[in-house]
Symmetry: D4
């Protein structure tokens, strides 16, 4: 029951064409549709100040992704994640003006125009973590938030990280991706006074257990400003950092 339907019903009660008891009964049944209605308003709000729906291309066919992407792109900025290169052509042709980046495996078009309080820094320990970082960067850019790349600053060579400290302190939030021992978020967390979103990556072998070692390390960080997302979840980290940057 949307607002128009509700208004019509009440008018009929006023006019006497619908008895009061029947109106009570129908309104008692209605709320979920109304909730649906509000949820739709929520979606509009999300579109305005948050993020339009993002397409996770994994486990979908190129045709399915293309259809969904085209529909979403009609209403605002578009972001497709985890899009394998072999599916990208079909989707790019379906959405005129979209661009595909094979490193982050994202496809996008447009960006939101909500002002942010400042940039987000996106760091990683090694070059193998770059694809996860780039997914975060793509997410931030679609959200209209500036991303500062601070890559290849692993803890075994601290001077590399310390040399980039000014970029870190400019940021309103910091995304830090790391595989193997996952130590970088703790070190970064000690250098900045902002929230650090840690992303464990599946980079490593043997006892890295596909990223579990890094995940556990990050959850146990001695820096209290560190929170954690799922392994390789660059999108989630970028999204939360973007929300923070907007204030």
């Amino acid at each position: 029951m949307d607002e128009t339907a509700l208004r019509n019903l009440l008018q009929r009660v006023v006019r006497g064409t619908v008895p009061l008891d029947e109106a009570v009964a129908r309104l008692k049944e209605a709320p979920f549709e109304q909730l649906g209605d509000m949820a739709t308003l929520d979606t509009h709000r999300a579109l305005r100040q948050g993020m339009p729906e993002v397409v996770l291309a994994e486990r979908k066919t190129a045709a399915q992704v293309a259809a969904i992407a085209r529909r979403l792109a009609a209403h605002g900025p578009l972001l497709v994640t985890r899009l394998a290169p072999e599916k990208a052509g079909v989707v790019r042709r379906a959405v005129r003006g979209s661009t595909y980046d094979p490193v982050s495996r994202t496809l996008r078009r447009g960006r939101m125009t909500i002002p942010a309080l400042g940039p987000v820094a996106v760091c990683c320990a090694g070059t193998s973590d770059v694809p996860v970082c780039e997914e975060a960067v793509a997410t931030l850019e679609v959200m209209g938030v500036e991303a500062l790349r601070v890559y290849d600053v692993g803890v075994a060579g601290l001077h590399r990280l310390l040399a980039r400290r000014h970029e870190l302190t400019r940021a309103r939030a910091v995304v830090v991706a790391a595989g193997m021992e996952g130590a970088l978020p703790s070190v970064v967390g000690g250098l900045v006074g902002r929230p650090v979103i840690a992303v464990p990556t599946s980079v490593g072998y043997g006892a890295s257990l596909g990223g579990i070692a890094a995940l556990l390390a990050m959850l146990n960080s001695c820096s209290p400003n560190v929170t954690v997302v799922n392994i390789d979840n660059g999108f989630g980290a970028g999204f939360v950092a973007g929300l923070i940057a907007r204030g």
Copy 2:
């Protein structure tokens, strides 16, 4: 080498009482002390806009906690976490004006005066999760951030959560604590457009594995605005939420 020492050295170089080569050598050795110096400045900055050092009382004796707490309380607001009731008396007597809360097991005095953009909501699924929430609330209050308690709104009775939706949407960030299946952060994440800091709790038995089940659930949340901290880490969740609320 602090600023005075540096200034003295340079003055001596200018005066010629220290040869240039020796100054070069001493300055090459100096940076760590200087870093130490800057780190101290960082501490000051943290005090001003972040959070003074927090005392984790676990694994410390009452006397140790009292000594540290007294020293810290001399410079600003004080927060002691995980303070067992049997140690609280000693510490409270050591810090005049401090108050102890046995539910959150925190002791504190004073609060910071940094303005925040808005409140933080703190939710939990069941009453057993309340101590973890109260640790987050205590942290927020010492940070000077308003905390909105939304307790006992577990997903098995959705209407309780939906009835509190207006408080959730007022918040700049939401802390959500839950044990057992850890589903609440996903549901809250779907209702708000702000970052959700999920805290798995050790509430449960058997296959809850001391909170691991809730932790895994939260890391796999289908709501992209959810990040996660360690099991029972109410302090960390409150701290990050407080940083976000300050913008």
Copy 3:
């Protein structure tokens, strides 16, 4: 907003004392209260045909349990689970006519009167599993469902189980508790054509991992009529079996 309030609002619209626009606005805001309303009706329904709220005494003080139990007992049958013997006296005195069973660690009073299609059999492998079974039996009895005890019928002595086959086949559902290797539900599942609710117990040592071994075995049962609840969750198993027995 309950039915009376809704009716009043509509009457005022009809009378013209509330403008139609305002009524639309208030009704759009209302649904959660209405949902709350319906949820309350759900509770009534649950009371009538399901199960009144059950008190999990673990992590609650004797006084807290007593207060909650007294309130609930005013509206219908009462079941308190995981009530340690040292707390039982306080609670029993608070609820006149209640009885405490130290084996199942349950306290109860009264039973529901919803008719069931038939009994539920409750089996276990060894005597150490009996407390879990008795929790299921207590739950069934409060639900008003007959429970058939088939105890100590572990798979290492099949004849004991086969000798009780007639009881198993009489049941509308079978609860099977087992620790160690957790094999009993598969064997029972092969003997009956009804749902089997398997309860892994924490009975065992070493590689039983506190019941995880039995849990995994039950989840991998080759009998397709087996479903599983959490370790030592006799209440949950009894409750689901009771729902099934009611048809």
Copy 4:
């Protein structure tokens, strides 16, 4: 030894053509064949009111599946699960009138005619969980039980689930499949007064651990009417729900 053989033996004892001692000896040896006999009767009973044997095609060649399926189809309804598309042609040709569904990867023919008390609802959180749901639906349909599909109602968008509440409350049992954080069964469990059979799916990545995260969440559900089957086990969930629906 079936009933005829037993009768013949006893007649020979009466006639004196078999000495009493020999009859005692043969009867002492006999019970397993008799048990075998009864088990066969069980099979007949299962066929009549339960479920004929189901073929799990995984790890079998197309030729093996075809041979087994043809034999089973001669005696009643047929269900083959986990049949890869590349094997389906051979099997479909072997069983005249059978149909193959590539989404659920099931092949079937016919359905049972045992009356049920009502329908079963089959829900899932996301579209990636649909194949598991469809396996449950196929199982229910072969059992002759009506299945109500309630798909794509994940907890991050509650209004979608609440809008389908009427279908859920019509059902005698609800199958709920979910990957990632596995929260949906708890939410559904709180909305209905019937048994919920939760199916964790392997949908997810990283810390989802191939479905273990969802599995643990479901085992720890705060809704007491939830029981759990193995990861991706749509058949098992459908089968148990079908048994419940028959009452």
Copy 5:
């Protein structure tokens, strides 16, 4: 139905006092009782050539253990395992002539007289493993099998083990208990041509995970004559070794 009852039934059929149809019906019902009967015979056989029922005292009260032990001791040799010292007095008084050993935590009386083909060697890596070994030794002695103790021969000092080689080669089977890295069974397995029953012990700390490290090591032994029992299961290892020694 035991042999006498069966004989009586058949005699009545012959005499005509029981109609043939009734006899068929009763015999069709009988097998489980008959199976029970045979199982009873099995027990007798076990008593004769195997092992009488053993009492696991863990999780039982002293009174329960005493009652069971007295009953079993009336029929043959007695073995009680995992009997805590504080319960031992009650049980020892209940069974005249029994002896309690606080190291193995076993109580026993008598021994079986089945001849064995040779002795069993019982080895362990360190002195902390001795209680587990002594449980195996007690089991062997009650079975009437000679046990050769080869203790404190850990792999970090190979000469100790090699010096005891002659005892190992005399044995028909070898029980090897080890905690920590659990390497001893592999080394022993390479020295003897007999079955090695490996018992992981919970001796260790940290990454020994309560014996899981040793358990995994033993399951992966490069000596093909090694099989494994549960952590700390000295009884099981001794029992299987005793069965092997009997040939």
Copy 6:
């Protein structure tokens, strides 16, 4: 130093061509060669009463396996395990008279002639476990021990197992392979008075964790005559059972 060299050295001491001090020195250095010598004798003994070296083909090239197999086949019976079909041709051609079995993936020639006390039964729960069983059977046959196949007797249809009880009781040891919940060894262990060697198989999905569920179940068996080998280790189980059968 072999026996000839030792004899020569002593003769030279007697003759006085080697001084006694030098002989002492050389003999003090010698033991490892002597140990080597004895180890060689061990090998001979193993060949005579145990098992010649077995070739594990996994991770070796066809050429490597062929070379090793040809060398070993020159000295006695040959067994090659885990030989993939695509490598089998090369090896079979290298060893005249050898036969390859694609089910067990073994290649062999000849058999040992050590007499055994009786046969070994080899059981499995389902047809997917047959390859593991056949590896055990091949091992037993090369050892010259009779193997009794008791296949497809899973616990969900007990009558199948009970009907084969006579074969089980004839055996001196029983190998039991099972995947999924791994319940069969416990049931078999309760039926026989002989050692049961349990082999968990990797048959299953989801929470079977590649055989870990079955492994844990077997380690926790309530039948005390069950010992366990590694997942899918049919060779090891057959080897130990063969050693037991030889007495």
Copy 7:
């Protein structure tokens, strides 16, 4: 800020072209560049007495590896690890004089000339562990440290290891690689008075869990001179052993 820049700054202060206050300010900002400077010196030192940067080829394209390798080879010895054979040609052509070894999957050129105190022994249990050992050997050789290969000395045939004892005792450190039960480091640790670097390998199946079983065993070694590196990390083990051998 490197030494030249620092000298220039100070000279300008002396000359008066830079005010003292500005110099203080710039020097306070400078340390990280200075640290970078020192870190560069560290690199030089590492080159002189440690190890030049090593290229991990995994997850890099042949072209990327070739470019990095050519650049590094211009400054000293070169080591590339985990270089798949199909990428080796490109890299070998890029670095004139380099050699590729397909067993260790390393490519290298040159060696360091730092004197060592003695050799390093590199042991393994079986031939499947040889590739990991050869990676350690290649690392040692590039470091200019002599490597003694002691291969195929698994604990199931101790005489093989004992026969090589003299090589072990010559070594300044011992690298020991083993899969399956990972017992070899403990045994070697008991034979030598030098550090043992244990490398678990992923050789094994089933309960070896991809090397976790061996890893746990090594961490629990009863020989106190054993330390452990990641699964299959031959490079790390060789590197640490090389550092130790240099004294």
Copy 8:
């Protein structure tokens, strides 16, 4: 057979009082005693250049520890580890001149006099890790190796660690203990060109899993000079570092 016995045997062969064949036979049997003999020499060597036997007091009674300690102290320096305070008095009285340290829970007397090439640095992240460090320090001191304490230098405040860099670079080996995320060894490893022995500690809660998180992090260190010992194993770390420091 020791050297005297061997010499006697050979003399009797020369004299003809022992036939040559008998001597051959006895010498073939002898080697293990000879090996035992050499092992004894090894012990002497260990005493001279390594470490006398260390007493692990855990799981031993005070009386047992006292007896062993007194015996060992008669032959050289003494180290007892993991000695609980309540047992310390008995042991200290048994060994005149011994001292007990309640922080490291070690008791010792004397120190070895083997010269070392330089000191060992012992670092830790937080004050809760100090007991583990002090166990390493005690071990080093008994070995006669200088220990440099570098405590409370966790990665969340890098300046503390960098300020201590000169001590780190003086050391021949570095022991690094850390709980929680276990990041410190990687950072230290990047600062020094010497072996780093990492000790995970059980300091932490929730997802630290009793030190497993730190252990995994350390095994995955991106600094190649890091090796790892068991959780809380300060003794092992100190011992290996001491061996390295001796060159």
